[in-house]
């Protein structure tokens, strides 16, 4: 799918969208509004992934990331503060400090990128994108040397633990509480 001008166009479109929406998430005063912006960002980044040629991952992204996690966040927002509460702005020192840190990090990462020349794949390799979902599946469960079976088992344990933890913590255990 990565073929010349259409891809470039989509890249810039999605790039601008994701940055704008990201700023929305971060600077937004109403929580619900920033949650929605987050959905937007994830959506546009799914598009970017498509531009990169990974349809499966883009699908997962939309399905799990947006569908699962962000929806969960929305529930949380609803349960705790009815979403529309007006969050006061953090004190100036914190915002300045945060800004400095973020830009400093950005500058440093950029300088790293600029100074390293990555071993790029040859020009023509770029065009051909033959995504192979089968290969993902096989690698995910193969137990040879470069297989991911162990992380796979571990991540399932992690998910189970998170599940139980979440229930235990959020359980109402003192009756007098509303």
């Amino acid at each position: 799918m990565y073929d010349g001008t259409v891809a470039t166009l989509f890249f810039y479109l999605f790039a601008v969208a994701s940055i704008a929406l990201a700023l929305g998430v971060v600077l937004g005063r109403r929580l619900l509004r920033s949650a929605v912006c987050l959905i937007g960002v994830l959506g546009s980044s799914a598009g970017l992934i498509l531009v990169l040629g990974f349809e499966f991952i883009a699908g997962i992204q939309v399905l799990v990331f947006i569908g699962g996690i962000v929806v969960l966040l929305l529930f949380a927002i609803m349960m705790t503060s009815e979403g529309h509460t007006f969050e006061q702005r953090p004190n100036a020192a914190r915002r300045v400090m945060g800004g400095i840190v973020a830009t400093a990090f950005f500058v440093v990462t950029l300088s790293v990128y600029w100074n390293t020349d990555f071993p790029l794949v040859s020009k023509e390799g770029l065009a051909v994108s033959h995504e192979d979902v089968h290969a993902i599946g096989r690698k995910l469960l193969s137990n040879e040397r470069d297989g991911y079976i162990v992380p796979f088992e571990v991540i399932s344990l992690l998910l189970l633990a998170a599940l139980i933890g979440g229930i235990v913590i959020a359980r109402k255990h003192d009756p007098e509480d509303t």
């Binding site: 914190r94 400090m97 945060g98 840190v101 400093a104 990090f105 440093v108």
Partner: protein, 654 residues
Amino acid sequence: MTGFLFENAWMIPALPLISILLIGLFATGSNARAAGIIGSVAIGTAFLLTCGLGLSYLSSAAAGASAVTWSIEWLRYQDHLVVSMGTLIDPISLLLLFVVTSVSLLVHVYSIGYMAGDEGYSRYFVFLSLFTFSMLGLVLAPNLLQMYVFWELVGVSSFLLIGFYYTLPEAIAASKKAFIVTRFADLFFLAGILVLGFFVHQLVVDPAWGGVSGTADQSAAATQALDFATINSERVLENLKGQAGIFGLDLLTVAMLLVFIGAAGKSAMFPLHVWLPDAMAGPTPVSALIHAATMVVAGVYLVARLFPGFAASGDALDVVAAVGCFTCLFAALIACTQRDIKRVLAFSTLSQIGYMMLALGVASAEHPAGLGAAMFHLFTHAFFKALLFLGAGSVIHAVHSNDVADLGGLRKKMPLTHATFLIATIAIAGVPPLAGFFSKDEILGAALDGEHRLVFGVGLFVAALTAFYMFRLYILTFLGGHKSDGAAKAHESPPIMTIPLVVLGVMSVCGGWIAVSQFVLPGVELHAHLLVMGLSVAAAVVGIGAAFWLYGGQSNRAQTMAESMGGIYRLVQNKFYIDEVYLLVTKMIFRFIAAPAAWFDRHVVDAAMNLSATVVRWLGARLNVLQTGQVQTYGIWMINGTILVLLFLWLVQR
């Protein structure tokens, strides 16, 4: 100089030491009475040993020979600076041995009576034996450091004896004062030892020097820097005189002056005399032994022992003469005005020691007659002054008061004490044929020989003063009416106290006839000075006449004379307020040095240490601000940290 007595001369000082141990073990508590007997027996045998030693010395040894008959290595500082404990036998030390052992024996016997019934009885005799031990050790010392060791021990035992009645505040103050003043003087003595030790050692060590006798014989290796033999040898003295000391004086004079200050302190010469009058707070036999006959003459003995050094340095001798002469006059003036019987005698001792120092001062290498005269006067003075003190003691014992005002009319009440006291008074006044006359005459003669006109004049005047204040004391104490009921009820002291008085009386009478100065200076021809004899007798008569004229009859001529002099009389009576000046100086030293030192330590040095603690705590508090408890700040600092590390790595790598 060989023979049993010489090799074991160390037994003489050892006997009192043994008596200390015996008393300490057996004569405490119930059978305390034995202490007196043990002490007296020990010092008695020591006295006999000394007589034996003296006789065998006179018969066998060449006149004036001096040798170290016994010594063991005591303290090894460095090669050529090895200090040993030993016994040096020569005329002066024999003379002193005889004086110390005889007077000490008599004082021991006298004390058995005087101190009877006192609850610190055995403690008294322990201290007395300790004193005698250290005095004998001092007399026999062959080197300067052993003399310093026993010098300090004498100081301590005098401190213990003065402070014997330790419940009386003035006795404590007097003992502390005595010890600290003498200690101050000993500081200079020690400085003198350091100077002599160093420069003589420097000389002895360098091979080119060639030993005491100029020839590098085997004795060179054995010469020790601080031995008297080494110090007094001409080659050492020349060398020392050649080197420059400080304040423009040559090294020898500086060393001799330092040592003289130590001697002046112990013999209570002018600036350091303040402790002797207060030392009368101790028991009277103690004053008799220590503050009349033995300890106070230690200074004179030291100067005599280092006489070649003093003679070689010349101006050191002039200082000795000056100090001696001034003290002699100064003390005699004060003695005329004192009311306490023991203080009069104390100042009279000061004056007589001034005489001895004066005699030493006028002597010189060419005609050392002064040295002989000083030793002769020391010999005679020991006896009649001890007699005066013991007589005063028996008077105080009977009347229980020191003040002349409530004595008087004791002639009939205490005949024996009166007789012996009168003999001693005549002796000290310098009336022939008694002892005082001969020795004082020799001193004045020596002064004339050495063309010291002024010193001779002062000496003559003081002779008159001495006669005056002694007879003033005699009249006020023994003649006239009973001035207090105590005096009325007085009765003669028990025989154990009067026998020593009689013995001392005999010695005071015939002491003068012994040719002591001839014994001390064998080679030197001594001629009598008829003119001087006449003048001194005249001075004595004038003094006695004045005393009888002023205090003789019932008239209060003395009273009127005192008022007429007005302020001067009170000034002299208060000892020219020197005590008060010293008190002020010491107070100031303590207030302006000791107090700030203590304050400085507590508030500055200590505070500095505490300051470092508070600084650390303050720093901790400042860092505490960072721990706000909010997760986000931690996040920020974490990222900052990573960025800084990256930057640093990047810089280093470039």
